[in-house]
Structures are given as structure tokens and as C-alpha cells.
């Protein structure tokens, strides 16, 4: 079984890079004592795989890490005496060093009671600004997240740009056949047409810095970042803060999320902070 964990990265912690996030996540797993599998060989490492790397400095509500669990990590149904009948009823449970934790279940009924304690336990073990919104079990079949993610949802603002000006700029960009912008890749300036990557772009309001936009940008063949749109939208302005809201996969019914944040994590967090 695998655990698929969705987490956020907001505030000051957005300045740490992808490799640092991996190290932080690894330490959090060990702090909780989650029974994650290690690689074989001379230098065993914790096995973990992430979704698409987030540019350093960007915030996110939709980061993912997948953690394969060791055999025997799940609590057998007949061994649940003493865990509590509520937990037992809630479905599978994972035996961690810090206690037995329940992952998020499929809870179509938003008013149903939830017993997920894993998301909260992981959030507690992560630095301020990184919160786990969902931790679900998957059977581990299918594509890796990196391959499965097709588009990303973004929110970003443009410093000092008025909403009306932003609205016109967005309309112009969407009407254009090609939008060539430059970016620096491996020390060289590369120009490319980003227009085909823009699936959705709209002004959603204003932040305290300037116009706020929402976008869905494709992640294949390469991840296009919101910052690449800003020179085309408002060449005189800088981007403020960008936040990834979603990593979308392509399901049978169209766009889908690898894991949907459940309300249980928030509920647990409230309990803990209270």
C-alpha cells in the first residue's frame, strides 16, 4: 500500500527549495514513526516520490508526496482491540511509532464523522507553513504522480497592476495566436510560445499588492510558470506571490485531483490548537 499525502507550503517556508522539502518531509515521517519502506542495498534511503517540483519562492496548496508502506504496516482487523471501536469502524489503520493513525477515508458525506488522525500527526511534525490536508491510501498501481499530472492550477498577483488593466491584458493574451516570452534556462535565455500552455486565465480580484489572477497552465511537455506570463501581461510590472492551487491529472471524467483535501485534517488541527 502507498500513502498519498497532500500538503501546503505557505509563508516563509516557501523560500526553501525542492531538495530541502524532501529532507524536511523525510524527517517528518521519522518523527511520526510512519512505517515507510526503504530502498535496498548498501545505502538504504527512505522511498518517497513527489509530484511536480514547485519553483522556490512559490506557495502551494497542492503539493504531493507518495510513501510506500512496509508490509505489515496496516493494523489487522482482528488486532484492533483497544484501539477504540470508532477507529476500528473508520477503516484501515497504520501502526506508527507514535501511535496508531487512521488515514483519510472516502467521505462523500461531508457531515459524516471523520477519524483521520494521520494528516494532523504529519502536520504537527512539519515546519510552520507546511500543513497536511489529506493523507489517503492507494494501491500504488498506475502512473507516478510526476507522469500523471497534466496541468497545474495557479493563483498569482501582479504588483501595482490595476484590476481593469489586468482584465484587458488577459483578454489580449487570450486573443493572441502566439505569446512569445523569454526565460533563463540553464544560464541561457530561451524564448518560447507559452500561449498553447494557457488553458485558463482570468482576473479574480485584487490582493493588497495588485491584480490577482487565476490560471490553469499545462505541465507537459514542460511546466509553464505564471511568472512567464507576466512579461506578456504587464511588462512594466513584477509578479508578487504565486501559489499553486492544484495539480490536475486527466481522469475519465476530465480533470481530477490525486487526492482531495478532506475537512478532517482541519478538524484535527482545531482540536490540537484548542
Amino acid at each position: 500500500m502507498r500513502l498519498r499525502v497532500r500538503f501546503s507550503k505557505t509563508g516563509k517556508i516557501r523560500f526553501i527549495g525542492h531538495r530541502d522539502v524532501a529532507r524536511v518531509a523525510e524527517r517528518a515521517v521519522r518523527r511520526v514513526g510512519l512505517p515507510v519502506a526503504y530502498s535496498e542495498g548498501f545505502s538504504p534511503r527512505m522511498r518517497m516520490s513527489f509530484g511536480l517540483a514547485l519553483p522556490t519562492g512559490y506557495e502551494s496548496d497542492g503539493e504531493y508526496v507518495e510513501l510506500p508502506l512496509i508490509d505489515g504496516a496496516m493494523l489487522e482487523a482482528n488486532a484492533r482491540d483497544g484501539v477504540g471501536s470508532d477507529v476500528a469502524a473508520a477503516g484501515p489503520a497504520i501502526v506508527c511509532r507514535s501511535g496508531t493513525h487512521v488515514p483519510c477515508g472516502d467521505e462523500p458525506d461531508l457531515d459524516a464523522p471523520s477519524y483521520c488522525t494521520l494528516a494532523a500527526a504529519l502536520s504537527e511534525a512539519l515546519p510552520v507553513g507546511m500543513e497536511v490536508s489529506c493523507a489517503v491510501l492507494t494501491d500504488g498501481s498506475g502512473q507516478s504522480l510526476q507522469a500523471a499530472v497534466r496541468t497545474c492550477g495557479w493563483r498569482f498577483d501582479i504588483v501595482g497592476l490595476a484590476e481593469a488593466a489586468a482584465t484587458k491584458a488577459v483578454a489580449d493574451l487570450l486573443a493572441a495566436g502566439t505569446v512569445v516570452t523569454e526565460r533563463v534556462h540553464k544560464g541561457e535565455t530561451v524564448s518560447s510560445d507559452v500561449r498553447p500552455s494557457v488553458e485558463l486565465l482570468q482576473v479574480v480580484g485584487s490582493s493588497n499588492r495588485g491584480a490577482e489572477l487565476s490560471a490553469v497552465l499545462s505541465a507537459t511537455p514542460r511546466v509553464v510558470r505564471p511568472s512567464e506570463l507576466v512579461p506578456a501581461l504587464a511588462p512594466e510590472h513584477d509578479m508578487g506571490i504565486a501559489r499553486r492551487t492544484h495539480q490536475w491529472t486527466c481522469g475519465a471524467a476530465g480533470r481530477a485531483e490525486p487526492a482531495v483535501p478532506s475537512r478532517c485534517a482541519q478538524r484535527q488541527k482545531e482540536t490540537l490548537s484548542g
Binding site: 517556508i13 529532507r23 524536511v24 524527517r27 517528518a28 521519522r30 518523527r31 538504504p44 511534525a125 515546519p127
Partner: protein, 637 residues
């Protein structure tokens, strides 16, 4: 996450490390004080690190002062800014940080409202080069004295820091044992020669004796080691297993100034390791000391730590917890220890023979034989290591070319042993230029000039020939010269340090930033003779700039040990053999705390191992009573 309290009623310390965050964060001394101060109801402590040059430029352009990483509080708002001095080449960064804090760099120009500038750490044992810039130094272990200073500063703060009271405060601080306030002393010279350092008031002590905590068991710190979210050096849990070292290596300042040996009880070490790993999420723990393989029962400790990481499984199970052992003595590193360490991910392995020939190792009292080294190396290769690092010094007293060339011979032999076990065997030789340090028997020795050090590096390089199994790395000989200026400099050298700083010479520890010509220019501009300070041998009766700072060691013990060194006489390790009265214990009424009465592995140095086997010159271990006869009581420093 730990967040210090911000409350203007609390006596506030900004603990500053004068190098980058990546280098400074793991520093254990700073973390211990950080925790102890924050545990006090009347104090708060935050941390700051030197901003790299790009950030410094931005800060100066935007008129932003140095600030704490904890709550981004401006450095100038703290009652005390205290620097950790772990190396001499950070001195210009200390000045830069004081300036960035918005505080006058010279103590004499500070007003009552300015923060007090403090400093501690090993370089505080010769505080004179920074005497004009630092208000007070702490000499020795900081655990107890930091509280006493807080009491005095706190009382002054509560009295309102009234105009004209700073002098009185400094005088009070000078009364705290182990605290040196340079402005309370007059220094006089006769020409170039230092003749006297005299207290300005009768209540100011003529000799500032270092502080020593008697028992490490009373100080299980840090309990809550800081876990950085970005990568730093030594990114692992650290647990100090003992403090002090009496192996008696004559070049080693740390081993001289931190005596006696105080082992942490094994049960406490185990508790700190398991609690620390669980809290931090680290998968690697470093068992820290000046020579960790000397810890009583080290093999059992490593075995238990690694076994706990294997989830309490069989002793042969692979472990998720790696153990790293810094500062390994080759005569104490056994197959047993190697086997235990290698059950987890193999950490880097560094051995420090320090000198290439047995003759020279006798001079420096690093009494490990070639066989000791080879058997340690064999232990490591046989347990699966492919590469190791050998650390050597060059420019040691009486070093001759055959001694230097012997470094290549040792390294090649180690690589050859490795090839018996693996085709990938390789050895890295790390070669440092020797800088004589205060409070050591070599404090009288004239340092090798940079061209001589460079010649010796070339000697090793050519003796190695084209050996792809041995890689040579060396420390810039020019940097050793600058380090030499600050290492044994007196109060006058401060002007040169200020000059280098004003010319932009920050981060001199970093090779890309280091520039010897700047130091030469500074010495000339200040009318100071670089040769006189660095390359000159000192005489027995010359007053040394740190003679008023007491490390516990009798001055005539050090002089006798210097004479013994030149005569090639070894000195045993007093933790397992009778006391030779260096002064470190007797002056303080304290003793070694060592669980095992014998050296690990029956190691050398007066513990029965036949040191003469296979060598040209047998070492002579003389009873110390003869060597130090006639030492007057209280003759320390």
C-alpha cells in the same frame, strides 16, 4: 518550533556566529547557551549569523541592520550581542557584524545605550587581538558563567542603564570568574616587546582563569537541538560524549585548554541519542568529542545506537540510524567499532596521524605507530569502506624533508592495504599548515613562512607522484599566515584586523574571499612587523600576550613539554596513568571523569603497548616529576 519570547523586560542576548548560517547553525556551544538562556525566566536569547556579501549589500542599501533569525529583531535592540569565536579568520566578520548592528566597532566609542559586545569560544583564550572591539570575553565553559553575566547585566538593565554607568557595569563583569574585560587592563610595551598587563582597579583580577564545568552529567544540553529546514554542514543530531582531552598532542590547543576529561555517563548519552533522534527526525547521530574512540565503552555505545535504529532487531539487521564518529584516534579504532558503525549507512571516515614520520609524531606527542594506523585502516576497509581521509599538519617544529615525504609513504601504504579489500580503494590526504596556538607547548615556536609551507606541500605532491589512489588537498599556506597574525597577536594587532575589515576583507575563512596581500598591507599600515608576530621563535622569559588568561596549565609545564618535544620525549595520557600536574585539575580542585581505567584497545601512550616495535627510535616515557621538578605552586600562566 522554538520561538524565543520578545519582552523588553527580559535580559536579551543575541548569540551571533560570525560566519554564514550554513556554517554556524550546527555549533553546539551556541545552541547550549541558547537553550540555557531561554530556560531562564528573566532572559531571552535569539540567534544571528553573518550575512553573505550579497545580502550584506542589500541590507546596507536598504539601511537594514543585522537582525535575529528567530524573530527578525534588530541586533541593536538586544542587551548583549555575544559572538562565538571558533577560528581566528572570522575576526573581521565580528567587526562587520558589530557595524551592521549599528554599534560602534570600538568599545571605547560605545554609549550606555549600546548593546554589550561579548565573545567566547576557543579563540577567547587569546582575546587580545579583539580587545579593542569586545566589551567582555568568556574564557572556558559557558554553561555556568552565562547565568552569572545575565544576573549582572539584568540588574543594570533594571536600573535603567543610566548615563555614565557602563564603566561600572564592565567593572562588575570583570569580577565574574572567567570573564575578561579588556578595558579594565593597562597594557605597556618596551619597544616591540610586551612588558605588562595590569588591572586598572584593585578588584579586577590580574589573572583571568577559565571556567570549567566539573561534571557534564549536570548539563545534558542541547535537549532540543535546532533542526534547520535548509542544508547546513553537520546536518545531523550531535551528542557530546565527553569534553576535554589529555592525549597531550602538543600542537592541539583544544586538547590543552579543555582539560580535564569529563565523560558523559553512558546512560545519559543513550537517552540523549534516542530522545534527540525521535524529536528531530534525523537518521544520523554524531558522537562528539575531541577523540570519540577514547570514550569508555565506545563499541557498546555505537552498537546499541545502531541496533536501536534497526528497530530492536537482530544484531546483524541493517540499521536506519548512522553513527558518525569525528576525530578518531587510530589506536582506538578497532574492527569492532568499524563493524558496528558499518551496519548503517557508512559515514565518512577521517584519521589524523598529523605527522608522516614516527620521529615527528614523537615531537608532537601523537604517539600512534604506523602499525596503529594500518590496523585501523585495515579495520575500515575490511568492513566495507572504500575511501578515507588522512589529516596531516606540515610546518611542525623540527620537521625535516624526510618527515614531510613520509606523509606520502603513509598514504600510499594505506591505499595499498585498501586494494587488498576493494578495487575502489582510495585515500584523500588533507594537508594543513601548522599555526602555533596559545596555551600549547608549541606557543613559543616560530611558524613556517608561507613559501616554506608551499614548498612542503610540493614535496608531498611530488613524493606522491602520479598515484590515482591518493588525492592530495591542502590548506592555502597564505591563509595560515593570516591565521598566525591573529592566533598569537597582541592588542596592537587589532588595528590591522580593523584595517582588513575596512578594506572589505570579510569572510577570510573562505578561500574565494581570502587575500594575504590585504593582511600584509594592513600590518605595514599599522607599523606592525608580520615576521615578528608570526615567524619568530619566542624565548622562555618573554611575556606572551595571553599570559594574563589562565587555561589552568602551569607555564613551566608547557615550557618543559616544549623542551621535551624538542628532545623527542613522549608524555603519557594522564587519564589512564599517574598525574604529572599540568595544572588543569590541581588548580581547580577537579578531576577526570572517566568510566574505564584503561585505554581502549590497550592503546599506546604509557599503557603497556610496546611502542618500540618496528621503529627506529623508541619513545621514552619519563616520569613527569623529574621533568617538571621545581615547579612553583600557582605558576600557571
Amino acid at each position: 518550533m522554538q520561538r524565543p519570547r520578545v519582552d523588553s523586560n527580559l535580559t536579551s542576548w543575541l548569540l551571533a556566529y560570525p560566519d554564514t548560517y550554513e556554517i554556524g547553525l550546527p555549533n553546539q556551544g551556541l545552541q547550549i547557551l541558547y537553550e540555557l538562556l531561554n530556560e531562564r525566566p528573566d532572559a531571552t536569547a535569539e540567534r544571528a549569523y553573518a550575512p553573505w556579501i550579497d545580502l550584506e549589500a542589500e541590507m546596507r542599501a536598504h539601511r537594514l541592520p543585522l537582525f535575529s533569525v528567530d524573530t527578525h529583531r534588530a541586533a541593536g535592540e538586544f542587551d548583549v550581542i555575544a559572538f562565538n569565536l571558533s577560528a581566528e579568520l572570522v575576526f573581521t566578520n565580528v567587526l562587520n557584524c558589530i557595524d551592521l548592528a549599528g554599534v560602534p566597532v570600538r568599545s571605547a566609542q560605545r554609549s550606555d545605550a549600546d548593546p554589550l559586545i561579548g565573545a567566547g569560544g576557543h579563540c577567547a583564550f587569546n582575546p587580545e587581538p579583539l580587545a579593542d572591539f569586545v566589551d567582555f570575553f568568556v574564557v572556558g565553559d559557558g554553561e555556568e558563567v552565562v547565568g552569572e553575566i545575565t544576573d549582572v547585566v539584568g540588574a543594570w538593565k533594571r536600573s535603567g542603564k543610566r548615563a555614565g554607568t557602563r564603566e561600572g557595569l564592565l567593572r562588575d563583569l570583570a569580577g565574574i570568574e572567567g570573564t575578561y574585560v579588556p578595558s579594565m587592563y593597562e597594557v605597556s610595551y618596551d619597544g616591540a616587546q610586551l612588558v605588562e598587563v595590569t588591572p586598572r582597579y584593585p578588584d579586577v583580577p590580574p589573572l583571568v582563569a577559565k571556567r570549567t564545568v566539573a561534571d557534564l552529567a549536570d548539563w545534558p544540553y542541547p535537549r532540543r537541538q535546532l533542526v534547520p529546514v535548509t542544508e547546513v554542514v553537520h546536518d545531523r543530531l550531535s551528542v557530546e560524549v565527553f569534553r576535554g582531552c589529555t592525549r597531550g598532542c602538543r600542537f592541539c590547543q583544544a586538547g590543552m585548554i579543555t582539560r580535564p576529561v569529563r565523560e558523559r555517563p553512558a546512560a545519559q548519552v543513550r537517552e540523549m541519542v534516542s530522545a534527540g533522534l525521535e524529536r528531530s527526525g534525523y537518521d544520523e547521530v554524531s558522537l562528539m568529542s575531541l577523540s570519540t574512540a577514547d570514550y569508555s565503552g565506545i563499541a557498546e555505545l555505537v552498537r546499541d545506537t545502531v541496533t536501536a535504529g534497526a528497530g530492536g532487531g537482530a544484531a546483524t539487521d541493517p540499521s536506519r540510524i548512522s553513527v558518525s564518529l569525528p576525530s578518531l584516534r587510530v589506536d582506538a579504532f578497532t574492527v569492532d567499532v568499524a563493524a558496528q558503525v558499518s551496519r548503517a549507512r557508512r559515514t565518512g571516515l577521517t584519521f589524523a596521524p598529523e605527522a608522516g614520520s614516527w620521529r615527528l609524531r614523537q615531537i608532537i606527542n601523537k604517539l600512534i605507530t604506523e602499525e596503529d594506523l594500518y590496523s585501523a585502516v585495515r579495520s575500515a576497509y575490511s568492513q566495507g569502506w572504500h575511501r578515507m581521509k588522512l589529516y596531516f599538519l606540515t610546518g611542525l617544529p623540527s620537521e625535516m624533508d624526510p618527515d614531510t615525504e613520509a606523509i606520502a609513504h603513509l598514504a600510499q601504504s594505506c591505499a595499498r592495504i585498501g586494494q587488498e579489500y576493494t578495487k575502489r580503494a582510495s585515500v584523500t590526504v588533507s594537508l594543513g599548515g601548522f599555526v602555533p596556538k596559545p596555551h600549547t607547548p608549541f606557543q613559543w615556536f616560530g611558524q613556517n613562512p608561507p613559501d616554506e609551507l608551499a614548498r612542503k606541500v610540493r614535496l608531498v605532491r611530488s613524493a606522491l607522484g602520479r598515484n590515482r589512489r591518493v588525492q592530495l588537498k591542502w590548506h592555502d599556506p597564505a591563509a595560515s599566515t593570516a591565521e598566525g597574525i591573529a592566533s598569537r597577536g597582541d592588542r596592537r594587532v587589532g588595528a590591522a584586523i580593523e584595517y582588513v575589515w575596512r578594506k572589505g576583507g570579510t569572510f577570510q575563512e573562505w578561500s574565494e574571499r581570502f587575500d594575504l596581500t590585504l593582511w600584509e598591507e594592513a600590518m605595514a599600515a599599522c607599523g606592525l612587523d608580520l615576521d615578528w608576530y608570526v615567524h619568530r621563535h619566542r624565548g622562555e622569559h618573554e611575556m606572551l600576550p595571553w599570559d594574563h588568561i589562565g587555561a589552568g596549565l602551569h607555564r613551566d609545564f608547557l615550557w618543559q613539554d616544549w623542551q621535551d618535544a624538542l628532545a623527542g620525549h613522549g608524555l603519557p595520557d594522564c587519564r589512564w596513568t599517574p598525574c604529572y600536574d599540568c595544572g588543569a585539575c590541581t588548580e581547580y580542585g577537579i578531576e577526570h571523569i572517566v568510566a574505564s581505567p584503561v585505554a581502549p584497545n590497550g592503546g599506546s601512550q604509557g599503557t603497556g603497548q610496546d611502542l618500540a616495535t618496528g621503529h627506529v627510535v623508541p619513545v621514552e616515557l619519563r616520569p613527569r616529576q623529574l621533568a617538571g621538578a621545581g615547579a612553583p605552586a600557582g605558576g600557571g600562566a
